[in-house]
């Protein structure tokens, strides 16, 4: 047994303990904990990137394969950028600053276990660790009613969806008598399919769908995104979603691959609904965080289009899009966090005339939104192109047409924001937006990544394709 495969997880656990100790040692300057957290997460990201060990532990319960490696980089990058964004913007009192970063680290640990496990109990425990930390993080502004509302909505709906997921998983165990994904895949390949097994598959889809905020399990998204602290919203919208998609990849594109005649039609309809409802609901939004929340729902719909696509290219395009989406969304939320920190407002109307006052901030927000809409030289375009290409390969032309139409709709409300910033005059005087160093660094890193991924997607795409191919090789 090669325990060194677990080194990343051991190190993150060590970081959690270190942050606890730092809380005792540092009395006043609690921002240091945030800086230490971000620096350690950056270090972990580089460590995972360059010490890429592959292998299997505990009879296939824990794997370090390409998908786990790639998604761990995404998760750690998201944790690093979230930490950087949080340092100067969160409004948590000194006493609980450390708790904020410890919970963030716990959630990161859970997500890392989630993407590495190929066994149902490990998957479920990792998922719970990640989401329970996020429930607490959403409600951490305890004197803010919206934050508390976000916490209670997230925990109740999350518990219901976890219950459905667990029921589905236990039925899968009941039918197949194994909790290992490989064993279940063998069972699903025999062709002896029980009705209960199909029902369990649908229940699992519903339970996972909550984490991905796919329609009809999306109702929690706008309220939680609006109420939670902005960096936490960014983390929920990227890291938790990325790990959720990896979970879904392992379940559907791998374990249930032979049952694709069951889940592909269901998923294609859900993808269509998720894109369309997310986009249509985003148009009338007046709060920027709610608008971005509906935009992330529609983004989840685009990613589901990739699931429907042919297996290898589908997985490859989903992995690539997750990376592009992560950096773009973090950039957008960092702008919102900086704006809210200085002006105390998240309303779209207050963004009027931002371009005259803060040309750079408005420009960055424009690039982030255009990348989300999928405009050519940016990362979002390449990602979306390959998602739709994957669906075309399997002949889902109607879904691709719907996706293209949806992108046009999404461009409409992104342009509404741009019109506010560039063409509308400022109605009331708001304080100047001060950008702390953490936010500046976050924006700089994400902007470089958006352009690099958009202009030179080749190396990363080769990497994701190789990862996807290796998944099916024995």
């Amino acid at each position: 047994m090669d325990m060194t495969l677990l080194v990343n997880e051991f190190l993150i656990t060590g970081i959690i303990v270190l942050l606890l100790l730092l809380d005792f040692m540092i009395k006043d300057k609690k921002e240091i904990i945030g800086v230490v957290f971000s620096a350690l997460m950056f270090g972990m990201m580089l460590f995972v990137m360059f010490f890429n060990r592959k292998g299997i532990l505990l009879g296939g319960a824990f794997v370090a394969d390409g998908i786990a490696w790639f998604s761990k980089i995404i998760i750690l990058a998201a944790a690093f950028l979230t930490g950087l964004m949080s340092v100067n913007t969160i409004k948590v009192s000194k006493k609980y600053t450390a708790a904020y970063y410890i919970l963030l680290a716990c959630s990161t640990l859970g997500l890392m276990f989630l993407v590495s496990s190929k066994e149902l109990i490990t998957l479920y425990v990792g998922l719970e660790l990640a989401t329970i930390s996020l429930y607490a993080l959403s409600a951490i502004y305890k004197n803010d009613d919206l934050s508390l509302e976000a916490g209670i909505k997230y925990i109740i709906l999350g518990a219901v969806s976890s219950g459905i997921l667990l029921y589905g998983l236990s039925l899968i165990y009941g039918v197949t008598r194994t909790t290992y994904l490989d064993g279940i895949m063998n069972y699903a390949s025999t062709g002896l399919i029980n009705p209960v097994f199909i029902m369990a598959l649908i229940m699992t889809l519903l339970g996972v769908g909550f984490k991905l905020s796919m329609v009809p399990m999306h109702v929690w998204t706008p309220d939680v995104y609006q109420g939670a602290p902005t960096p936490v919203t960014a983390f929920i919208s990227v890291a938790s979603k990325a790990a959720g998609f990896v979970f879904a990849l392992r379940l559907f594109a791998y374990m249930f691959i032979r049952l694709d005649y069951v889940w592909v039609p269901i998923l294609s309809i859900i993808a269509f609904l998720t894109m369309t409802i997310g986009n249509l609901m985003a148009i009338p939004q007046k709060n920027v965080k709610r608008l971005l929340a509906y935009s992330t729902i529609s983004q989840a719909g685009y990613i589901l289009v990739g699931f429907v696509g042919a297996s290898v290219i589908g997985i490859s395009s989903v992995m690539f899009y997750l990376l592009a989406y992560t950096i773009t969304n973090i950039a957008a939320f960092a702008v919102v966090a900086a704006f809210a920190k200085s002006t105390g407002s998240e309303e779209l109307d207050d963004y009027a005339g931002l371009a005259q006052k803060e040309p750079l901030l408005a420009l960055i927000f424009m690039f982030a939104l255009l990348s989300l809409a999928g405009i050519p030289p940016l990362a979002g375009f390449v990602g979306k192109f390959f998602l739709f290409y994957a669906a075309m390969q399997r002949g889902y032309v109607w879904l691709v047409v719907a996706g293209a139409l949806n992108s046009t709709v999404s461009l409409y409300y992104y342009l509404l924001v741009l019109r506010q910033m560039y063409l509308t005059d400022r109605k009331k005087e708001l304080p100047k937006v001060v950008m702390p160093l953490g936010i500046k660094l976050t924006l700089l890193i994400t902007m470089i990544a958006i352009f690099v991924l958009g202009l030179m997607p080749g190396p990363v795409l080769d990497m994701t394709t190789e990862i996807a191919q290796k998944l099916f090789l024995k």
Binding site: L6, T13, I16, L57, L58, G59, A61, F62, K91, V92, S93, K94, K95, Y96, A99, Y100, I102, L103, C106, S107, L109, G110, F113, S117, I121, T122, Y124, V125, G126, E128, L129, I132, S133, Y135, A136, L137, A139, I140, K142, N143, G151, G174, V175, R177, N194, P195, V196, F197, I198, M199
Partner: protein
Amino acid sequence: MVELILFYAFAGVIIFSAMLMVLSRNIFHSALFLAVTLLGVAALFAMMGSFFIAGIQVLLYIGAVVVLTIFVINLTKQVIGQDAPQVNEHVIPAIITSLLAACLIILAVLKTDWGTRIAQSVAQTELTDNTALIGRQLLTNFVIPFEVVSVLLLAALIGAIAIVSRDKEAEK
């Protein structure tokens, strides 16, 4: 035969008390019916020979979770009142969807071949030394979830303290 009768008796108790838990107007009674439901589940575990799980069920769920729930109800009585209204405004749609879901599940379960004979032989081999087997499995094949759960408890503790405890600095 006796086993079958016992099973249906316990299942009836579980369903009946679960329904009473949801429908009861008094939240304190709901908590007590929850305890009865969990006790019924423990009895089912014991019938299947999983005495360890049955014991854990009684100790943890009834001894800790339900007792904690009753504590919370008593401590927050002034805030929410004893008879907090628990009426769902969408009773009829809720009943329809629940019935449909129940029908679907029952149909699927009835149409499935569960391979009962294999299950019986598995149960008989495990009956001999169930507890030791659980312990060995937890520390070998399932050591990762076993350890991750301890981090989960730490995260839950920290989260609960950070949200619930009073914060003088932030109130200013």
